[in-house]
């Protein structure tokens, strides 16, 4: 498969990994399904956070555009900026593939550092989203990003790969309604963000 390479793992744990993009600002969109490898195991994850910051933690960028005509000109006059900044994204592990089996739960081991991170193709996304078991992981994690935002973004991304996006969203909505049984307000927030 000719899969687009989105970055490289620079930090990993069982539940998530952080990858750095090769190009500044080229991080995958929120909710995008990505994958990386740990030997024979493909680890699937959903992008939940993207940041762009200075390479050196103590050194913050300063404003440079006062005398420039537009934003592009800032980068043109200071080409070193592209090398002093970096874009990273974090992804939450939601499943893995091992020995031809696709599992919607955590992989036995975390991703490896310097493992390449690929964007999943629409076919692969569709295959992965055949089962909605990953929603349980999304619902039960604690992240900086509001969960409603992450879940709805992931479902919007996945629905784009479906032949019938609406029925996919209805099925996912029903699954969420069960998972968020006693939390109608959160369910409502998600549904309002994915309404088809």
């Amino acid at each position: 498969m000719n899969e687009a390479r989105a970055g490289e793992v620079i930090e990993a744990s069982t539940t998530e990994f952080v990858a750095q993009c090769y190009e500044l600002y080229q991080s995958p969109p929120l909710g995008r399904l990505v994958k990386t490898k740990d030997g024979p195991v493909d680890i699937y994850a959903i992008v939940y956070q993207a940041t762009t910051s200075s390479l050196e933690p103590g050194r913050r960028p300063i404003a440079r555009g006062q005398d420039e005509e537009n934003e592009e000109a800032v980068y043109r006059s200071s080409p070193q900026l592209l090398k002093l900044l970096r874009s990273e994204f974090s992804a939450l592990v939601v499943g893995h593939r091992q020995d031809e089996g696709l599992y919607h739960y955590l992989a036995p081991k975390p991703a490896r550092i310097h493992g390449f991170v690929h964007l999943c193709s629409p076919e692969e996304t569709k295959e992965f989203s055949q089962s909605l078991g990953f929603l349980n992981i999304l619902v039960n994690t604690h992240l900086e990003v509001p969960l409603e935002e992450l879940i709805s973004a992931a479902l919007r991304q996945m629905s784009a790969a479906q032949e019938d996006p609406r029925s996919f969203l209805v099925a996912a909505g029903k699954e969420l309604a069960i998972l968020l049984g006693g939390e109608f307000n959160r369910l409502k927030a998600v549904l309002e963000r994915i309404r088809a």
């Binding site: 609406r166 969203l169 209805v170 909505g173 029903k174 969420l176 309604a177 069960i178 049984g181 006693g182 939390e183 109608f184 307000n185 369910l187 409502k188 549904l191 309002e192 309404r195 088809a196």
Partner: protein, 540 residues
């Protein structure tokens, strides 16, 4: 079993044997398609259950949904929530069960002693299920209608029905009379019992009319040879085009003090006046009525009253009452034939007897005649049954006595005195049962009511009537909700001895030419038979 064809409704979530089980509907099933009174089957782990939907409700997983309802104009949100956060539940009262093993299959459905386990699948009952429970039309089973919202035939075992007394209740205009006709036909065709019908409104013998004025045939035109028409009012019968087989006349000497005590309310008699009747009977013997009425001489009367210790005003009260009876045109001093023996002779031959009252529809005449005749027939039956038990001879044919306005005979004040009270309580032993038709069942004595084996009830408004009909059966409150939701016409609930479980049903249509054909096997209506006979004679 028939899982593949049955429509799945949902799964059992909670429940108890006493209160029935709660079923959560699948998201594909709309609560609006459910209806109380419909049948469901529950596929348990080891056995199968039959039950009835007795309540339908809406549920939510989170009370916040009801406090801040979602935007229902959005079909997406509505679709997602349907069956998940918002769902329908039905309350099912299980009544019968059938085990998976061979013996249970042979024995058929049994009353439940347990409930299905969690998450058992609930399906809408199909035709086969209904047949399994109620049986198919055969030599003893008669089709009385269809279960509500189903095309299946609902059959009841007529032999079983006539084993106990039966009650048909419902407010007026709900279809009691039409259904009674149907049931009488059923008894006539599918049971060994013969019927004696006290036909107050001339509806069961010859013909009557529907509310819209269409003419409807009753028993006699359909079953010429099996029904004898008796009339108290020959003129009226002939005016209506009927030709009675016998005209009933009643002699003064046939009236007994018990008959008068039964009429106490209708004749407006005082308690002492009823007491006086018994004294007069002792004094004058069989002819007491005529003699008491014709004491003119004040001296003779004074002597008599002081002798019997009857107060003057009491006697006047009694005389006024007795005069009402005397004015009844079918009461005569001398009667050539005995009505009772005529009726008994017909019943013995297996011929059903309809006694038309003609114009004498007032309750005095009805109570008097029905009670008098029934009492004598009772005595005969009792004697013959006891004789049969003693000498091992043939018992008399089972008899069903049909009475209307039953609360007049069976109210708590008179039930102990009338023969109908006795029949309802104990006459089953003597092969006699009652078919009572009434619109005020609350007026019927509780003890009698509890002895009515099978009850068929149409819509009723009055709370007390509903309570009295449903008294003493399990799952009363559930059935009450089914009963309350019956249509105002042509829908009824049957429960009790003759049916394995309660069922709400729509009685078979009665009154059109088509419907008559159904009752006559092979479409042999009398006219067709006659035509065939004519053709045969013509061509030799």
């Amino acid at each position: 079993m028939s899982e593949e064809r049955a429509q799945r409704l949902g799964i059992v979530t909670t429940g108890s044997l006493n209160k029935g089980v709660e079923v959560k509907l699948d998201s594909s099933i709309s609560v609006e398609d459910m209806a109380v009174g419909r049948y469901v089957t529950i596929e348990g782990e080891k056995r199968r259950f039959f039950g009835m939907i007795t309540d339908i409700s809406l549920g939510v997983t989170d009370p916040n949904i009801t406090l801040a309802p979602p935007d229902t104009s959005d079909p997406f949100i509505t679709e997602v929530l349907a069956g998940t956060s918002t769902f329908g539940t039905i309350h099912v009262s299980p009544y019968l069960t059938i085990g998976g093993d061979v013996t249970s299959q042979v024995e058929g459905p049994q009353p439940i002693k347990t409930i299905p386990r969690h998450f058992s699948t609930v399906n809408l009952a199909d035709d086969q299920d209904i047949e399994l429970v109620f049986g198919q039309e055969d030599e003893t089973r008669f089709r009385i209608g269809n279960p509500l919202d189903m095309e299946t035939k609902l059959c009841i075992n007529m032999e079983r029905l006539v084993e106990r007394s039966t009650g048909i209740f419902g407010k007026s205009g709900t279809g009691k009379t039409f259904f009674t006709r149907l049931l009488l036909i059923g008894m006539l065709q599918k049971s060994r019992a013969v019927n004696l019908i006290f036909d107050m409104h001339n509806e069961y013998g010859w013909k009557s009319r529907t509310e819209t004025g269409t003419e409807v045939k009753a028993l006699k035109p359909l079953f010429q040879s099996q029904v004898a028409l008796f009339s108290l009012d020959e003129k009226n019968s002939r005016q209506r085009g009927a030709s009675p087989d016998f005209v009933v006349r009643i002699g003064y000497d046939e009236i007994e003090p018990e008959d008068i005590s039964l009429l106490r309310q209708t004749l407006n008699l005082t308690e002492p006046a009823v007491e006086a009747v018994y004294q007069l009977r002792r004094r004058f013997g069989k002819n007491w009525l005529q003699q008491s009425l014709h004491i003119k001489d004040s001296e003779e009367r004074g002597d008599l009253l002081s002798d019997l210790n009857i107060h003057e005003s009491t006697f006047q009260n009694l005389q006024r009452g007795l005069a009402t009876i005397e004015r009844l045109p079918f009461i005569e001093a001398q009667v050539p034939t005995n009505a009772v023996s005529n009726i008994l002779a017909q019943l013995d031959k297996g011929i059903n007897v309809v006694l038309e009252f003609g114009r004498y529809r007032d309750i005095t005449a009805y109570i008097l005649v029905a009670n008098m005749l029934a009492r004598r027939i009772y005595a005969q039956y009792q004697e013959r049954t006891e004789k049969a038990m003693g000498e091992g001879g043939a018992e008399p044919k089972p008899l069903v006595i049909t009475i209307e306005e039953a609360h007049k005979f069976l109210n708590p004040e008179v039930a102990s005195q009338t023969i109908f009270g006795t029949i309802a309580r104990e006459m089953r032993k003597y092969n006699v049962t009652l078919l009572v038709i009434d619109q005020r069942p609350s007026g019927i004595d509780e003890e009698v009511m509890s002895q009515i084996g099978t009850k068929i009830t149409f819509l009723m408004d009055n709370e007390r009537d509903v309570d009295s009909v449903l008294s003493g059966i399990s799952g009363k409150s559930e059935l009450k909700s089914v009963l309350a939701k019956l249509a105002s016409k042509q829908q009824a609930l049957i429960f009790g001895h003759a049916v394995p479980m309660p069922v709400a049903f729509q009685p078979t249509e009665y009154g059109s030419a088509e419907s008559y054909k159904d009752f006559l096997p092979g479409g042999d209506t009398p006219t067709e038979k006659q035509a065939e006979k004519d053709i045969e004679e013509l061509w030799g």
